[in-house]
Symmetry: C2
Subunit: 225 residues, 2 copies
DNA sequence: CTGAAATGGTCAGCCTGCCGACATCCCGTA
DNA sequence: TACGGGATGTCGGCAGGCTGACCATTTCAG
């Protein structure tokens, strides 16, 4: 990929828009680009040199693995998000990132290079710090959810959240393109496939939503709270 | 509190030791100090101007409150830790900090002031970012614990952790000064008082530990894993 | 010293939601 | 169009651990 394209890609990123064009060009030099199709694995925490990734396009999921080999979908990330060793520490949990949509594009930096850039750009540093702060807040929220709410409330909250992020309005209905399986959703809200299926059918019965394998139509958003 | 004392307080902090003395003196000017005794509340997220705190001495606990008024001990912090609006965003969960030990000392900055300092000190920015990253990692771990482990495993893990942080060795035994109630512990590992009591007695029965209201003596650390 | 409040101990009952098992449905591919 | 694998639907069983209830013990202020 040539520098022009890289420049264009980074230019509009919320994280890098605090940089002037000279600084941006400098970053372009240390950037690596990568593309992936649906189902392809983008990064593996243990067989990878320490890298920070930003997602330029598409949707990916981050899957965490515990000692016993259980897998849990830890996060769904959209365009603009960061993943990999973005905490700037090199001790990672066992996790990998996999493309959920087609045409995923992301760029990455070596941890060391990125640190050096941050050290020279205070505005970027501040921006980046806030970014991570956001992630921490988000994680704290998820934790609180798990502590305070039951499965039903967590699913409802998840759906409301999803709708507000990616839903498109169509005459009192909100339509969601569904790229997640019940298993994925279960994993995200920390439950099991069966329970999710059951709750989905319950919601359908109550006429709160309709769904198929490809989309979810929310008819009564208010009922999810 | 005079500048000399402030200077001395900040000098050895892991976060601020990347600054030279001129920079440090500058920070001293915007610092506020506060002391508290056991049981006193140090900060309340909603009736407080946005501030970042660092704990200079003593132990505190962070308590989170949900919409229904349920309280959960979110964290126990030791000397050197950060709390308050340290993510540099001004939207906080409902929480407060309360002194657990006597003679708690902490210093605080206004969010804006602190941001300005960070913007001018890239090294500090980097250090600070790593700090928050560390907190994020810790939070992710707690989340994973909740997802993967049952209550017994969580309690064992919690005790092992505690022992490694604050335990003092005495002839094959590890002694912990116990400033937490069963209720506190339950809250931290996301369980209930009764269950914690029950598990503690089980551990005592198996001769893995002894405990009273004031201390916990771990006799067989290995058995906790 | 005394009484109230906080903490710890114990138990029966029950409920959420996990687990295993199996049937069915959908969809891409050959 | 037939096949196979992944995704979804459904159900009974059951257990971890929460709930409420009550009492004993310790702590601490007045």
């Amino acid at each position: 990929m040539n520098l022009e394209t890289k420049y264009w890609h980074l230019h509009n990123h919320k994280l890098f828009n605090v940089l002037n064009s000279a600084e941006l060009k400098e970053i372009c030099l240390i950037t690596n680009f990568k593309t992936a199709k649906k189902g392809e694995i983008i990064y593996f925490s243990h067989d990878e040199s320490n890298r920070v990734y930003t997602l330029k396009r598409g949707t990916i999921k981050i899957v965490e693995i515990d000692e016993k080999g259980n897998e849990v979908v830890k996060d769904i990330l959209q365009t603009g998000d960061l993943f990999g060793q973005f905490t700037l520490t090199n001790q990672a949990l066992d996790e990998y990132a996999v493309a959920v949509s087609d045409y995923v594009t992301c760029c990455s930096f070596k941890l060391d290079d990125f640190e050096r850039v941050i050290e020279r750009n205070p505005a970027l540093a501040l921006q980046y710090t806030k970014w991570i702060g956001f992630r921490l807040k988000r994680m704290e929220n998820r934790y609180a959810n798990l502590v305070f709410k039951d499965v039903r409330a967590r699913l409802n909250g998840f759906l409301a959240d999803w709708a507000s992020k990616e839903g498109t309005n169509h005459a009192h209905e909100i339509i969601l393109k569904n790229y997640l399986t019940h298993q994925d959703i279960a994993s995200l809200i920390c439950s099991t496939r069966q329970t999710v299926t059951q709750l989905f059918n319950e919601l359908k019965e109550k006429n709160i939503l309709d769904y198929s394998r490809t989309e979810i139509i929310i008819k009564n958003l208010a009922a999810l709270n």
